[in-house]
Amino acid sequence: MSYNGGGVVAMKGKECVAIASDLRFGIQLQTIGLDFDKIFQAGPKLYVGFPGLATDTQTVHQRLKFRTNLYELRENRKVSPKVYASMVGNLLYEHRFGPYFVEPVVAGLDANNQPYICAFDLIGCANAPDDFVVAGTCEEQMYGMCESLWKPDLGPEELFEVISQALVNACDRDAISGWGARVYVIEKDKVTVRNVRTRMD
């Protein structure tokens, strides 16, 4: 899990969610790329991040996209966050004894524009709390930052500030995370993507 490094954090706000990841692609202590976003879009208001082993980030994203495409064809509707989270957990547990080395983070707004966040361990144990979820090599640093900065019912602008500060400062204290960050703020009518500067080392 710490071969490539990286971190993803998601937070709930008032009728909005935010999810953010760092952009480093490295192999152990060598940095290879600076634009490896670990967050992918799974629906119009649903995003998922896969921190962990880079090859599994790409493979799990592709396998999940396959499953959601089939779901959307069969059911003729977009997948909701809770159902998507359940699919993620299912995919991971199918490989219980040969797991994918990723710890997914799901963030989205459901049909009533209520925020939903969920994090998993590498074998699919779901955790859907009311405040924030973190995953990656700088998990512990992110827990500290989120616990101090997060408050309930933050508006979209404040949520952006809080999640950015949490991710940036956590990544700055982890050698294998950082090299830039991308933050997605999902509101009921739009999704804003912003790049945030971290220590570029």
Binding site: I27, G33, Q58
Partner: protein, 202 residues
Amino acid sequence: MECILGIRFNDFILLAADTIDSRSIVVMKHDVDKFFPLSKNLLMAVCGESGDTTQFSEYIAKNVHLYKMKNDYELSPRASANFTRRMLADSLRSRERYNVNLLMAGYDEVEKKAELYYMDYLASMMELPYCAHGYGSYFVLGCLDAYYKPDMSVANGYELLKRCIAEISKRFSINLPTFSVKLIDKDGIHDQEPIHARQLVI
């Protein structure tokens, strides 16, 4: 102990690979070609486990060719790279994994741009402006961070490549005397003059 490097500019890509095949302390062959053309505008440079390199590369090349025969048009560089990644990722968790690191360079005639893909043996893939595999990467990435510009001409790009190889020759303890160089642009794959370490000003 092998080294392959690639640099992507606005309209072309330069790929360089050393020409040594060695087992432990012995150099078996001095004129190995580590490049595998996949189509007119798509070239792959491979390093890693000896048999796997040839087997995997030929498999990918034949599949790319099959797609062209079946569908009458070629796979784009991005599609070929993703196909290669899929093959490598599937083999990773199977009985025997392919232990190959590769760089794939292609000129996309539809999008009209050059693309360079880095793929390691675990099948993590990234499209990058410049990249390298092997111990040589530790020496050239810093060099490229400092001197790379995307709008360089072919001559300047070749000089940049020479500078990188000079760095490897000066500071890497394994002797890599020659690097073969290929240029990929909209007109296809072109051989360039090989770069000999002993002729470089170090």
